[in-house]
């Protein structure tokens, strides 16, 4: 750390990292010398660890699907079963809902209750549309006799896509809770941190869906 750099940074740290109150020496060591990080950073980091563990859980389902894609026991494969138009609409729903979730973040940062509720409602409706399309697809597959018991391939398919759908369902329940808590409790720090975790969760679900539409549907359909 050069002296110029230290002087340049003096008094300009938004979190006062490295500004020991007793000595007043501004020096950032990067080893916690300035005290703990702000709550928002700690909360975000903790939830990020959870999300990464969830992604590792999904990677097991992805690996299972990829390994078992040929294990059809004479049953139908992706080419006979998957409707890419449905997948495209589902993808659009989730991508747009991820965007409107970002809009909610902007509204919450500005303590704007009206826009918070509006964008949360749109996010929730897009999520429900996605779930409806997925339920419709699952129902059609089971009606075709291609349920999860038909072959190992279909077991892996229903496990992976269904696990993601279960996550979206939990996300929508959480979203509804947030829609109730903002008007009831206001933009308190705890509620805003709760919303931070929700937004990370919702964006992460869309990232998982990128893997699903790429690996399960698009690559699945060109697998002979």
């Amino acid at each position: 750390m050069s002296a110029e750099g230290t002087a340049l940074r003096a008094g300009r740290d938004p979190y006062h990292i490295g500004h020991a109150p007793s000595t007043g020496v501004p020096e950032y060591t990067g080893h916690g010398a300035g005290g703990p990080a702000p709550k928002r950073i700690v909360v975000g980091y903790g939830f990020w660890i959870f999300i990464l563990s969830d992604v590792i859980l999904f990677s097991c389902f992805f690996a299972t699907y990829t390994v078992l894609i040929d294990a059809r026991n004479g049953g139908p494969g992706p080419q006979q079963l998957f409707d890419l138009h449905n997948t495209a609409i589902e993808t659009a729903c989730l991508l747009l809902s991820s965007f409107t979730c970002g809009m909610t973040s902007l509204a919450v940062a500005r303590h704007n209750l009206l826009w918070t509720e509006i964008t949360l409602a749109i996010t929730g409706l897009l999520g429900l549309t996605f779930l409806g399309l997925e339920a419709h697809e699952f129902h059609a597959l089971v009606a075709l006799g291609a349920g999860p018991t038909r072959s190992a391939f279909l077991t892996a398919f229903f496990a992976l896509v269904g696990c993601h759908g279960a996550h979206v369902t939990c996300g929508i329940l959480w979203l509804g809770t947030m829609m109730a808590q903002f008007p009831a409790k206001g933009f308190k720090e705890t509620i805003r941190h709760r919303y931070l975790c929700f937004s990370l969760f919702w964006h992460a679900l869309d990232i998982i869906w990128i893997g699903i539409f790429t690996v399960v549907y698009l690559i699945g359909i060109i697998t002979p």
Binding site: P14, G18, C60
Partner: protein, 141 residues
């Protein structure tokens, strides 16, 4: 800094996109405006939508050399994950984000081991297993 500043910092993993990232330095410019943040999200949405469309298009139109389609789809998918991480989750290389980025790197390592390791192991196992039919014949015969 003021509480105003903190309000605008809340909804990402760390600091803002494109902000001055010198350790300990406050941004020299004003806090991000609604306009600039909206533009960032819209950029992310446009990039993500373009990559999604490219993936579906590559499959439909047979524009890519057949055996290369899988690789192209994987590249589009990974690029879109990157777009989401940067524009929606605001994962950056700022000091606030060092731990998040390191955790992500570890997560990517584990996911790669599980995913590619499973494919690798199961492929070779299938190659080396006696087919069930041949096994039955050996037993029956």
């Amino acid at each position: 800094m003021s509480s105003h500043r903190e309000d605008f910092d809340e909804f990402d993993l760390g600091s803002r996109v494109g902000e001055d990232q010198v350790v300990g330095a406050a941004p020299s410019e004003a806090p991000p405006t609604l306009r600039s943040e909206l533009r960032s999200y819209l950029t992310g949405l446009a990039l993500a939508a373009a990559l999604t469309a490219a993936a579906f298009w590559a499959l439909d139109e047979h524009v890519i050399y057949g055996p290369g389609i899988v690789m192209a789809l994987i590249v589009f998918g990974l690029a879109q994950v990157g777009v989401h991480l940067v524009f929606f989750l605001h994962l950056t290389t700022s000091p606030d984000n060092t731990n998040n980025a390191l955790a992500l790197a570890f997560g990517v390592l584990i996911v790669s081991l599980i995913f590619f390791g499973s494919i690798w192991v199961m492929y070779h196992m299938n190659q080396n297993m006696i087919p069930v039919k041949a096994l039955m014949e050996m037993r029956g015969g």
